[in-house]
Amino acid sequence: MTDVAALAESLHPHEVKVLNALEAAPRLEGVTEEVLAASAGLDVAQVGAALGRLQVKGLVSVLSEATKQIVSLTETGKQYVRQGSPMSRIIAALRSRGDTGNAASLTIKDLETREGLEAGELSTAIGELKKENVIRIASGGFVELTGTSSSSTAQSLQRLLETCRDGIHLLSEFNAAEQALIDRFSQKRGKSIEPFRIDERKERLYALTDAGRTVLQKLHTVSAEGISSGESGTPLAKPEILRGQLTPDILKDGSWRKEKFRKYTIGLKPARIPAGKKHPYREFLDLVKAKLVSMGFEEMRGGLVENEFWNMDALFMPQFHPARDIHDVYFVKDPQYSAPIPEALLARVRQTHERGWKTGSSGWGYAFDPLRTRRLVLRSQGTAVSARTLAANPKVPGKYFSIARCFRYDQVDATHASDFFQIEGIVLGVDINFRTLLGLLSLFAREVAQAQEIRFLPAYFPFTEPSVELHVRHRQLGWIELGGAGLFRPEVTQPLGVAVPVIAWGLGLDRMAMVALKIHDIRDLFTADLEMIRSKCVLY
């Protein structure tokens, strides 16, 4: 039996269809997977699998391979198609204001609230429009139409958005100016709220090899002979029967000795199997967790629903602090209030806020509202867990950490998730001071981020003084902020009954995780797309 015959017999029906489709196609130019799929009546995935096997068998070759840039709309882009881009919306809002007989001017704040635009999107759009001299900023902070011309950027952008709404397009379909515009408004690292995404895709053109053509001929003859064999009366040589799977039966009765086993084409891509595995982001968090335990940190847990006392009051955040606003924290509907705070504790915290109590502080100097302390909120910062630990007779020396789910009242977008993990904790000890704080942060930089170069910058947190930000040089991202920390203010520790200095620290690891997972949108950390989760291979 010749190689050709063996090969012909080894072909899967899909492979035969693909070979036929290739034969029908123009010989010199080659064909794409998509074209083959259409002419063979198969899925692109099936064609891909068949092509893979045919290449291993040497029947098909790649004629040419080119990298194409593919343009598609992001979630932001789809939203712009529906609602208009921020630029068009600003112009429309100003025009409609002018049409109602008023001066065609609005403040930036008006635009933000009326159009529900992100501050970032808005300032970029205003910047673009200013550059084009379509609007100007007048005194009083009013944005006005100059009335001289309309924005060609806004118009072209809207036209491109419309063009792309039906699916993916090749970047090369567009002219140079359009390409530049798409590139300017496409998602990149550090620029996640953009309407376009440009991906690179390899496009391969396939053609039959000489062997492929020979095998095809063989196939045609076999099928022709098959039809004619009855007439000619010449039976085909009986093909030798080869065994596929070894079975328990033939093992038991020893008949395997008489069998011939088919030789497999072992270079083929295997079938996928569903794996049991950890979520890639959780895998990352597990690693951090293990690091922290190895450094002597004890885990703390807290509740998703917290009262304002532990979420803010105990942290010396005044009740008028902007981060306590209805626009920054989620409030619980029912019940609205927690059980009362233990009286002595409440009194100490209240006096500290008002006049400083015995902490040596002047306090914030306002009338503290004890009822407000019981208002129930969704925990907005992991530090709430630390505050509870401080009040619960912690160990000295002691090190604690938590990986706590927190909630912020933010419009969900590529950089804001509705709930997210905060990794943070405390260190208590008589030897704690500013320099040991820096020492701890150096340790984190080395152990958690494997960073060699680090930098400390002054920072601000309402509950620590001094405060510091830890920046590290990441091998892909350059300098990034890895965490924030500080020494708790005495106004925090003393009312909770802690007499030693305490380090409060927090690590921001989402950006590192996103780079490791190759994603640009923070929502994808919690993606609902199983294919995406299955396809992530993460090497930390």
């Binding site: 794996a275 998703l304 090190k399 509705s418 820096l438 701890l440 150096s442 106004e491």
Partner: protein
Amino acid sequence: MPTISIHRKDLERLLGRRVTDKDVETWLPLVKGEVKEHDAATGEMRIELQDSNRPDLWCVEGIARQIRCKLNGRPGSYPYLSASKGRRDRVIVERGLESVRPFIGACKARGYRVTEEGLAQLIQTQEKLAEIFGRKRRTVSIGLYRLPPIAFPIHYGLADPEQTRFRPLGYNDRMSLREILEIHPKGLEYGALMAGHSRLPLLRDAKGQVLSFPPIINSRDIGEVQVGDSDLFIEVTGTDLRMVTLTVNLFAANLHDRGATIEPVDVLYPYKTAMGRTIRMPREFSRPRSIARAEVSAALGIELSTRELRACLLSYGYGVKTAGERPTVSLPAYRNDLMHPVDVIEDIAIARGYEAFPPVMPSTFTVGSLSRIEQLSDKARELMVGCGFQEIISNILSSRADLVDRMRLSAEQPESQVVEIENVLSLSGDSLRQWILPSLLRVEAGSGRSFYPHRLFEVGETAQPDPGADTGSRTEVRLGALLAHAEANFSEAHSFLDLLCFYLGKPYHLEPVAHPSFLDGRVGQIQCEGQPAGLIGELHPEVLERWQIGMPCSMFELALSALL
């Protein structure tokens, strides 16, 4: 945390020297600033300022001022603060304002010709201060005017909203105060601050011209500062006298730094204030404090000599009265953020530079450990992975529609009780999940194109409403597992549950129950030690339809917290 826009040229003018990129990088830590964007062509920089207690730094003048202190090793001089006694122009406050918007402060700035850049900065500072520091103008709002048309004394009084008319910024026509509140964008935005008052604040000069309707809007005629103006009037109204004082001091310092001559203005009150009945602004108002050198050294972990300590304080802008072990220090007039000696200690560290503090490794020994629930969760997760399940992580903030309605839960079902949000931002996030299954269905619904079978699990937190709990709910860790493929059924789910409970060492039994999320007769309650600990079953086809899932699903969910 405000982000402001400044120009390098402007910064250079205020510092009197050239500024390189390297300089910016070196100096910004002094003001807790970070460059967010930098346009090399125009020299525009967007800088984020972190310290919400330092509004003096939210402008290029303030940033330059802090840098100058460091370069010169001492604070700048502001002679108008110690100006001689004598008669000054006045603002006369009328009775009745004590219950509406009690405080006003003002000053004049002469001889600084407003440039385009200067005007942009003035407006930016005005906005950032009123929005963030002044809490959307509630506690502080600011008005800027051209000085020449104003006749002193100015009257700060209350006016009838219907009868009083003037031409507000942004409009060509005269409007009554009522119309401004109802039509003008600023009226719509800030009008709520004036709710409940029948007579509203109004600022008028000696000739009766309206300057503004604080805190809403200025007059277009006097209150529109333009490029080229060189004499200005600044007025600040508010509900907190110290914040009003600070804001006047801050604007005075900014304009002084740009070359203006500041002339203080006296405010005459018909009622008592913490600073008396006649208040001259700008003014010194910080309370001096003594700082112990020993306390500084202990907190910073470094021994500072009395000379070094004094040098650090001066180079960060502090006034230092007495020297020695316990110097008396005072904040400059444009700051009001000293509550505790630790605030000064941080400034000393910043003045010295964080890089000048060698890190010391923590040396005390502590034992690391995980909580019991985390240990149990990790064990369960490992078993599920071993069983061939893919782990999922989902948002806990979810929607009642997903958690209850799509699961066919009716109001009688105890599981239909969820922790709901009062200030809902989007309908997809109005409740905390009370079980994991809907999170897994969300993944299944979005993953039809991924090859089957699907075996998913999540171990995560849920919120269980509980009137007996301090916060009205308990946070419970639950394990949810979902099987989705053509032959997914109860027995398969049961096999996995059985295996899991065996290896967790938790004997269980199943109790038949009626549950609308599942096919009748194919659902059970998991009980451990006689207590309900979860559910197992085949999902009801109507639930699958509501999720638009085209594959049979079976599942189980186990409350890990209940197994501890």
